[in-house]
Amino acid sequence: MRTLIKNGRILDPASGHDAVGDLWLDAGRVQAITPPGAKRPEPGDEIFEAQGLAVAPGLVDLHVHLREPGEEYKETIASGTRAAAAGGITSLACMPNTDPPVDNLAMVDLIFSKARQQGVVNVYPVACITKGRRGEELAEMGELQAAGVKAVSDDGNPVSSPMLMRSALQYAGMLDLLVINHAEERSLSGKGVAHGGFTAAKLGLSGVPRSALEVMISRDVILAEETGSRIHIPHVSTAGAVRIIREAKQRGVRVTAETAPHYLVLTDECLADYNSNVRVNPPIAEASDREALLAGLADGTLDAVATDHAPHSRREKDMEFVLAAPGISGLETSLSLVLTAVTATGRLSLLETLRRLTSNPARILKVPKGTLAAGADADVVIFDAEGEREIRAAEFVSQSNNTPFDGRRVKGRVLATLVAGRVIHADPAFAVRRSGGLPAGGV
């Protein structure tokens, strides 16, 4: 069946295309972009009227916790991929800190098979760097890669030993497998639960100094430079980290980096009422850090925005701040927060903003996604970039609604998300824009 997305502002960062036009999808792939009305639909074509809306490649999220297997009470592959769809995300890399961890072929196969049967977006399992995420012996990366793994990470645990990290980079580099290392020097972060600045000092919360992150990032950049391997720095949150990465990139180190929406929006002042929903690791730092992150995102130092979607149940959040589990449920707020903090403030054009949410992360992961080029998989998001909405945690599709953004007014509403040409999420307001197609088709 053919689909026409009509009269939308089509944005494809990979090709630099940004113009009103018609997007044609056929048999699960992008067929063509044509000028508005240049080609007439045929009977049986499904038509989406996208006038006034943005039409872009589905978003690619490099950092998601789907929690399955092991913590299905927080999230599952079924619920997490639907939450992604609601956020306009059509491809995601899910982290291996499950129980048991994803450090062997059977676990990778399990994730792929569950994602195929129960998921609605493309799922790329990230496997462990070391067996059991213990930081002692390398996981069997060759076999994991053959099973379809694109990246390795001991997410949540840094590879503490510099020797083992160097070895991991050499070995993964040989396979051209992406290494992502949780950037935290544990002897510096200690029992810290918040950014080690004035706010934490005033509230009596143990602080994590910026150096806890920056020492580890510096080490990893040095090891990547020496081994010539690729390193990806997750959830960059401080000005110093941006500076280290910028300087490394200028020297030609093969380093890429992501930040998360909450670091672009909040500052550590949000800790003031001990709201456990702002407890996240790494912690949210100060206004000067936020400014540096926005600048780093604008100048390309930070390649991508990834959610670090970390769902937790009420049972792990409705408690003492210090004891609450760190993490933010972010899939359904990411696009809106980025549009609000980055695009609406004039830091980046809509096209450049989307580059950091689509083609850049796809390039880092080396997957053929994040583009509307003819022949590409028809993964598409249709959204209203200008309209305002209020974030309502109670309406989350995710099983967990641990967000500090409940009630916040933001720009941007996802109206429809398509994977391989099929609508997997549609806002109720989108119904009136649909016509044609075959009976009983759709969601």
Binding site: G197, G204, Y274, S276, D318, E320, F321, V322
Partner: protein, 313 residues
């Protein structure tokens, strides 16, 4: 004038007027403690729970005496004997206690912010008896009371807090209270325990003791916790005593009528020399006496008491 709030969580959130109201009320209650029959009917029929998730003897006893002298029924609940050992979450524990129609919960907890969290979720009045390294408001109030009793006025007063400011809830409550009442506050200790960022609270940050106590009207000496003595924050108790211990010789730098205070328990010979602790400038035991009066005032005012002394007979 009653105190228009449900809880006492910290001194940061109180106005100078509210603090003065509590101190004024405490003065009336101090007199009750000097009577042969140390009891007034102000809280008769009310139930007060001492909910301590961290061991405490003096603060718990002080609150217990305060409540009993107001004729309240007092129940002590300690974590070691509690359902928390069975894995019950904090909120369930507190809601269960509240369901027994408790009027006031006095709570101590090892986590900063835990008392704020509980207060937000229950209807009963909550009094913070120390949360982690955040605040210990009644200690702050009794320190203020003791200073006011001797010095009468806070303006122009120089108060020096000595020790582990970073990990001290007593320090934070003192800083907030003293600043609101107009005193000049200096904090002093090793750089590892006295972060420079405390300047943003409106205090002077010092690392040299001599500099910090010169001309001081009050020296409030904080306890050095045993768990900080492992060589990571400072080399040894010996070196700490050498650099920051308050002894008779150093006392000469302060005003002749300087008040020596300590929230207890003291490490004699480390942060304070026995001669200073027991000397003529020491008001350390007055602090303890005043603690009961201040806590009576807090319990009374939070229960809607008017702040005058019509209920005291």
């Amino acid at each position: 004038m009653p105190l228009q709030r449900k809880d006492l969580l910290g001194l940061e959130g109180l106005s100078g007027e509210e603090i003065q109201l509590i101190l004024d009320t405490a003065r009336s209650f101090k007199e009750v403690g000097q009577r042969p029959i140390k009891k007034v009917p102000a809280l008769r029929g009310k139930t007060v729970v001492n909910l301590f998730f961290e061991p405490s003897t003096r603060t718990r006893t002080s609150f217990e005496l305060a409540a009993k002298r107001l004729s309240a029924d007092v129940v002590n609940f300690t974590a070691s004997s509690s359902s928390l050992q069975k894995g019950e979450c904090l909120l369930d524990t507190v809601r269960n206690i509240e369901a027994m129609n408790v009027h006031t919960i006095i709570m101590r907890h090892a986590c900063s912010g835990a008392v704020n969290f509980v207060a937000e979720h229950i209807h009963a009045s909550v009094v913070n008896a120390g949360d982690g390294t955040h605040e210990h408001p009644t200690q702050g109030l009794l320190d203020l009371y003791t200073i006011r009793e001797c010095k009468h006025d806070f303006s122009g007063l120089v108060v020096t807090l000595v020790g582990d400011i970073l990990h001290s809830r007593v320090a934070r409550s003192n800083v907030h209270g003293l600043r609101k009442l107009g005193a000049t506050v200096r904090v002093v200790g090793p750089a590892t325990l006295v972060p420079r960022c405390f300047e943003r609270l409106g205090v002077e940050v010092h690392h040299r003791l001599e500099e910090a106590i010169t001309g001081a009207d009050v020296i409030n000496i904080l306890r050095i916790q045993l768990e900080r003595q492992d060589g990571k924050y400072f080399p040894s108790s010996r070196e700490y005593a050498n650099l920051y211990g308050i002894n008779a010789r150093r006392l000469g730098l302060a005003k002749p009528d300087v008040l020596i205070m300590h929230p207890g328990p003291m490490n004699r010979g480390i942060e304070i020399s026995p001669r200073v602790a027991d000397g003529p400038n020491s008001v350390i035991l007055d602090q303890v006496t005043n603690g009961v009066a201040v806590r009576m005032a807090v319990l009374y005012l939070l229960s809607g008491g008017e702040g005058a002394d019509e209920n005291l007979d």
